[in-house]
């Protein structure tokens, strides 16, 4: 494959990729008298349109993606991204509306937002939603700020947030950003929250429990109502990380599990593309006790029309970003929900769980499973058997690349040493699942017979194993003209 240089390295004086129409007004000189200006942006490239197209087309060919194949990245729900979502979100009227147009010019957009809020409330059993958070992590922050505002209103924001040791790293980070100290709850031998431990740690200093259900091991927290009861009995609230909603949709609802706040990831459960790391969208659902604190603006129905309320209550946590959320991402999610309908949504969870269990069943003799509890949409193997031959989870992951597949999530959750977290999602064919299973079985054999081939993988990729230590010890974070390579 041709090695694609940086665009700056193919730049040449005089080349142009785009022209503006000529200026149609008389030119005025010296418009910026006392202001420091520049003649040009130093270093900006000069390339032709042909070069731009080849540059990005070649770069794109070095990427693996869901459109190419199996992507069992646990906890990320890498399902197929329907193309109709893209078509709808590209409609001129959605793409071209300025966010500050008078409301009568954005009624269609507001209807989309309101309808999505209402449907997400139904899907999760919550009372209301805000669609503003730009991604799951910002959703977590909003959720925790809502809890804090509510408790503060009752007279004491409290100090501690309890988080299981299997949680996503964003949970403790968001809790900290909301002004809380984090205390970790140990998982029990079943891989779920230890209820006795929770009861012991729960006090009137605890603001909330952040829990993921099913948890990051793919195990359903079957004592969730008891857990919520313990937290509520001391006046705390229950926050649910909804990253794994794909396992539940249409089968059970967080609202019915006594959860007070939840965030969803539209780029996981609701099929909006991940884009190589965003844009996502992290709507937050709440029980009505938290409604006075929702971030502004609120979208409200007033008779026939929709209205943006910028000053709903003095109690609001305020604004958390510009405008009203990642609108086009929300359009895609709504397209998906309507395309599937009630049976389609419920089938999502069924097949996602079936596919994951099919993989688990087929690989549980070849790879170690730390917890034998039933799992839903994902399962977490480890490298325990392969480690005996000097093969680690990272080696297994890199070897999978040689088989034309994306590796599972590695080294997470932290409670499984050498974790390989597999989440196939519902959109994969049996043929793809079988290919993955076969590849993993081959690697298990290789680990015993020819570990070197695994430890030196990948062999056929555009680049081979990269020196991440060098990247961190001597960071090179931008191109500069003086360098020579």
């Amino acid at each position: 494959m041709i090695r694609e240089p940086l665009i700056f390295e193919i730049s040449g004086e005089g080349k142009r990729g785009f022209r503006l129409p000529p200026l149609d007004i008389p030119v005025t000189i010296n418009l910026l008298n006392e202001v420091p200006t520049r003649e040009k942006v130093d270093g900006f490239p000069q390339v032709s349109e042909t070069e731009i197209v080849r540059h990005f087309t070649r770069l794109s060919q070095t990427n693996y993606c869901v459109d190419i194949g199996f992507y069992p990245l646990g906890s990320c729900t890498m399902k197929y991204n329907p193309k109709i979502n893209e078509k709808v979100a590209a409609m001129d009227s959605f793409v071209r509306t300025h966010p500050s147009v008078p409301l009568k010019f954005s009624q269609g957009n507001l209807e989309i937002l309101k309808t999505t809020e209402e449907l997400l409330s139904e899907i999760t059993g919550m009372d209301a939603f805000t669609l503003q958070p730009a991604a799951g992590a910002q959703g977590e922050l909003v959720g925790m700020l809502l809890i804090r505002a509510y408790l503060e209103d009752l007279g004491n924001p409290r100090k501690i947030v309890l988080i299981p040791d299997s949680a996503h790293g964003t949970n403790p980070s968001s809790a900290h950003l909301s002004g809380y100290t984090v205390q970790e709850i140990k998982s029990n031998e079943r891989g779920t929250v230890d209820v006795n431990d929770l009861a012991r740690m729960m006090s009137e200093d605890v603001a909330a429990l952040m829990i993921t259900n099913p948890n990051t091991l793919g195990i359903f927290e079957d004592e969730i109502k008891k857990i919520a009861g313990i937290v509520h009995s001391k006046g705390g609230l229950v926050y649910m990380d909804g990253a794994n909603m794909n396992a539940l949709v249409g089968h059970c609802r967080p609202g019915d599990m006594d959860v007070d706040v939840i965030h969803l990831n539209l780029h996981k459960t609701f099929s909006t593309p991940h884009g190589g790391g965003g844009p996502g969208s992290g709507p937050v659902g709440i029980k009505s006790i938290l409604e006075p604190y929702l971030p502004v603006p609120l979208i409200e129905r007033h008779g026939e029309g929709l209205h943006l309320n910028f000053n709903p209550s003095k109690k609001t946590i305020g604004r958390i970003r510009g405008f009203y959320g990642n609108f086009l991402v929300i359009v895609k999610a709504l397209t998906y929900i309507l395309s599937l309908g009630p049976q389609g949504l419920s089938e999502v969870a069924e097949i996602a769980v079936l596919n994951a269990n099919y993989i688990r069943k087929n690989l549980e003799k070849d790879y170690h499973l730390k917890y034998d509890s039933p799992t839903l949409h994902e399962c977490v193997f480890s490298d325990k058997f392969q480690k005996e031959h000097g093969v680690l989870n990272i080696d297994i992951a890199k070897r999978l690349i040689d088989f034309g597949m994306h590796p599972p999530t590695m080294s997470f959750p932290l409670i499984v040493h050498g974790a390989l977290m597999v989440e196939p999602t519902e959109t994969e064919s049996k043929r793809d699942l079988d290919m993955f299973i076969a590849a993993m079985k081959t690697i298990a054999i290789e680990a015993k017979e020819n570990p070197e081939v695994i430890k030196s993988a990948p062999h056929g990729s555009y680049v081979r194993r990269l020196d991440e230590t060098k990247a961190a010890r001597q960071p090179v974070l931008k191109w500069t003209p003086e360098r020579t390579d």
Binding site: R16, D67, S93, F94, V329, K430
Partner: protein
């Protein structure tokens, strides 16, 4: 539709392999009392044809596209080269996740590295991250960062910073016991330098200002930064309209320590407010406190150049509650569009773009200021936005113009009660001379 790829036979074989007779058995771990024993009350399923009709109906309730708009105020209408749409919609860019496996993600990673380079070139600073959510949350992240670096309780924020950015900063820092002090503006529309000087002290972590600011006025970054540096506070510049950087000197060269902002102007459509693109750059000595994903260059075992996510120990998935930010997924695809936009325009095209915005906005400013009754509220230097004061109530002006299919600008009264009957008007390269003349003619009639 459900995008399921299993045949009836596959299903049977898989159930047999697992050793069960029904998928329902796989959900036995969910207690009966919380199972939903009914269908969700959700419309659909809709076929493609039906779903398109559904959304077309909603699209028709929006603004008709033949309205002439002079709205800016944090979201800007600019030309988008066709290659940006075409290339950015490739599945290889749209459908991967965050590049955790660099060997099969070089397209995403190299693009991010080019984006970081472009942002450094634009802002005149040493390092840039791979993106943040948007300008408002970027400003909040900058405040958090400045506070981590300086550990002082006071943050000075210009009143001429976008009101939504100010509100977002407040929300983010609300529980950190910071003292946010708002600094007003003077008759130029710029930050009141006297007041700024008076408020700056050893307790100050940072001064946060926007340039060109919310009123369109270009701030004196050099003076502001000098004042900040006297107390070793951080000069934090917010750029909401980065097209201006095609002609204005890089803020980092003028003394800004942190530059953050909104890069929607770079090839990202207005989209009713999102997704947009936050960016941030800073001096290299602040790297340990820098938020967000960063891509670095390295080589593989054969010595071939490659790119990886680096310095990840700052981030939530490793540092958990002690991370520099809780950010995880951000706006990679928007950053890709911005990279394509800037590289396609290139050095010449970008300069020309900035120059046309400057020229057209000044032409409009000249035309409007000649109309009797209309006055320019501020006398500062501007780039592509300026504030007019009207002789009639703003709502009246707005609605008369709407009847003529013109959205004249962004009314300031709600967020700035002191600016009664004032609006920010934005003119970019997308406005033709006749558009501007039409606005002036209509205004002449009604004022």
């Amino acid at each position: 539709m459900s995008y399921i790829s299993l045949s009836d036979n596959d299903l049977k074989e898989m159930l047999t392999a697992i050793g069960i007779t029904s998928i329902k058995e796989l959900f036995n771990s969910i207690p009966a009392d919380i199972k939903l024993n009914r269908d969700l009350n959700v419309p659909g399923p809709l076929t493609e044809v039906e779903v398109v009709a559904y959304f077309e109906n909603l699209a028709n309730k929006n603004l008709s596209l033949d309205v002439l708009s002079f709205l800016g105020a944090g979201a800007y209408s600019h030309v988008i080269p066709s290659v940006v749409d075409y290339l950015s919609q490739r599945g290889e860019f749209v459908s991967p996740y965050t590049p955790y496996q660099p060997e099969i993600s070089q397209g995403t990673l190299q693009t991010a590295f080019e984006f970081q380079t472009l942002i450094c070139q634009l802002t005149g600073l040493d390092i840039a991250n791979a993106s943040l959510y948007d300008g408002a949350s970027g400003a909040a992240e900058a405040v958090l960062m400045a506070h981590r670096l300086r550990r002082r309780p006071k943050i000075l924020v210009a009143r001429s910073l976008h009101p939504q950015y100010r509100e977002t900063i407040r929300t983010y820092v609300n529980n950190l016991h910071l003292n946010i002090i708002e600094i007003g503006y003077d008759e130029s529309g710029c930050i009141d330098l006297e007041k700024l000087k008076g408020s700056m002290d050893e307790e100050t972590s940072a001064v946060v200002f926007q340039s060109p600011n919310f009123f369109g006025s270009i701030e004196d970054i050099q003076k502001i930064s000098e004042m900040a540096h006297q107390y070793s506070a951080l000069s934090t510049a917010v750029i909401a309209e980065p097209v201006s950087l095609g002609i204005l000197e890089a803020p980092g060269i003028l003394g800004a320590d942190i530059v953050t902002g909104e890069a929607q102007s770079f090839g990202i459509p207005l989209s009713f407010g999102g997704p947009y693109l936050g960016f941030m750059s800073c001096r290299k000595e602040f790297i340990r406190q820098f938020p967000g994903r960063i891509v670095g260059e390295t080589h593989d075992v054969e010595g071939k150049r490659g790119y990886v996510l680096t310095l990840s120990t700052r981030e939530q998935h490793i540092r958990r509650e002690r991370a520099t930010s809780n950010i995880c997924t951000n706006q990679a695809l928007c950053a890709l569009r911005a990279t394509m936009f800037l590289e396609t325009l290139g050095q010449e095209g970008f300069r020309e773009l900035a120059w046309q915005n400057l020229q057209k906005a000044h032409y409009a400013k000249g035309q409007l200021s000649q109309i009797k009754g209309i006055s320019l509220k501020f006398n500062g230097n501007i780039f592509n936005e300026f504030v007019c004061e009207f002789p009639k109530p703003w709502e009246e002006i707005e609605s008369i113009l709407l009847e003529k299919k013109i959205i004249i600008g962004y009314g300031l009264e709600n967020e700035f009660p002191e600016l009664k009957n004032c609006a920010v008007i934005c003119v970019t390269e997308t406005h033709k001379k006749e558009d501007i003349d039409k606005l002036a003619a209509v205004l002449k009639e009604i004022t």
